[in-house]
């Protein structure tokens, strides 16, 4: 299978973006494969509706694939990707409920119908000496974050999960750096408060 191609596996994000922008679909596929867990996790913390997370993830990936050629600086990929994710989430907030048929890549109604479109990823269990938290705690943290007011959870997720700078977050959320600073600080206090008995 094409995913076994080690050449692409050894390329970094910047190189993959550059190749993908030149029309290299295998580079694009590898890039999407590398980013999907990240996108999935981001939506998991932003959206209160668990059932929407898969759709949102695929929608974001499709947007990335379609619009990558418009990205001017490959090194700004991460920030650009998060802008797409955040904007999709804003759309989601505006909509009251999702239409069930917005996008369904899971369906076989496309040109690649013959083989399974959605492959499964092998389980990555916690290694014995790795620091791990329980499933329960992860769910509690996810609930605490996704229940924060919209702007607060966007700020804390972009910072803690995506590692973006205050400047990048300010740009994505169209707010000032001071606002971002205070949102992140307040989000942390709220979360620390809510998680006091668990951590």
């Amino acid at each position: 299978m094409s995913s076994q191609n080690t050449l692409y596996k050894n390329l970094n994000q910047y190189q993959l973006v550059e190749l993908a922008q030149k029309g290299d679909l295998k580079a694009l596929e590898e890039l999407l494969r590398n980013e999907q867990k990240n996108i999935f996790a981001t939506f998991s913390y932003l959206s209160n509706k668990r059932e929407d997370v898969f759709d949102l993830t695929q929608e974001a990936m499709l947007k990335v694939a379609k619009n990558l050629k418009n990205l001017k600086e490959p090194k700004h990929f991460k920030s650009w990707l998060n802008k797409i994710v955040t904007n999709l989430f804003y759309d989601e907030l505006r909509k009251c409920s999702r239409r069930p048929d917005t996008l369904s890549i899971d369906d076989d109604n496309d040109t690649c119908g013959a083989h399974s479109i959605v492959n499964s990823i092998p389980d990555t269990k916690c290694k014995p000496n790795e620091k791990c938290i329980s499933l329960e705690l992860e769910e509690i943290i996810r609930a605490e974050i996704s229940n924060l007011p919209g702007q607060f959870k966007i700020a804390i997720v972009l910072r803690e999960l995506q590692g973006l700078s205050y400047e990048e977050i300010a740009d994505i959320t169209k707010s000032s750096i001071g606002t971002v600073k205070s949102r992140i600080s307040r989000a942390r206090s709220k979360l620390q408060d809510g998680l006091k008995s668990y951590i």
Partner: protein
């Protein structure tokens, strides 16, 4: 009774407070402290620190590590500044001088230090949760997305088997390499 010098007394003060000296020496120091105001002052200061420390220690034991030192002296302006900027501090988003002010507060102020420690612990837990969530995705959508957009790209032939194509290119480039001609595969 032996006469101890001030230097000797001060060197022995902490042992004296802990009552770790023989009775003869204990008496000698006691005598000196009654007669020397300089050493008595030193003794009082040290005694106060020790009592404070014992107090904090007993509170730690009482509250099972979640102690709050309610000393008003620590809730000062420096602490307020610390609290306001702790979040940006751990994000490394402060100006150098503010960064130093926060760091200094964490060194001097035990409440601030505890809060910094808790904040880092909290952050570590968040990151572990994120890692776990990432691994909750058991599906690989990337191939499907590529299929979706391949149609919209005219220069790619939908019907060509890309992996077979790659094998062919690999074979070609290996052949060329074996002949000493380098090929980048295109």
């Amino acid at each position: 009774m032996e006469n101890l010098s001030c230097g000797q007394v001060i060197a022995l003060l902490s042992f004296y407070i802990d009552e770790k000296l023989n009775s003869n020496l204990m008496k000698n120091i006691e005598y000196h402290l009654n007669t020397c105001s300089f050493c008595r002052n030193k003794y009082m200061q040290l005694r106060k620190i020790y009592d404070n420390y014992a107090d904090i220690k007993s509170r730690i034991e009482e509250d099972n590590d979640e102690y709050i030192v309610d000393d008003a002296i620590y809730r000062n302006q420096q602490y307020e500044f610390f609290k306001e900027n702790l979040s940006a501090y751990i994000d490394n988003e402060l100006k150098t001088e503010d960064n130093l002010r926060v760091k200094k507060a964490a060194i001097i102020n035990p409440i601030a230090r505890t809060e910094l420690k808790n904040m880092l612990l909290f952050q570590q837990t968040l990151h572990m949760a994120f890692q776990k969530t990432k691994n909750n995705l058991k599906k690989d959508f990337s191939g499907g997305i590529i299929c979706k957009i391949r149609d919209s790209l005219p220069k790619f032939n939908v019907n060509s088997d890309l992996s077979a194509w790659d094998k062919l290119i690999n074979m070609l480039s290996n052949f060329l390499k074996s002949r000493g001609i380098f090929s980048n595969g295109k």
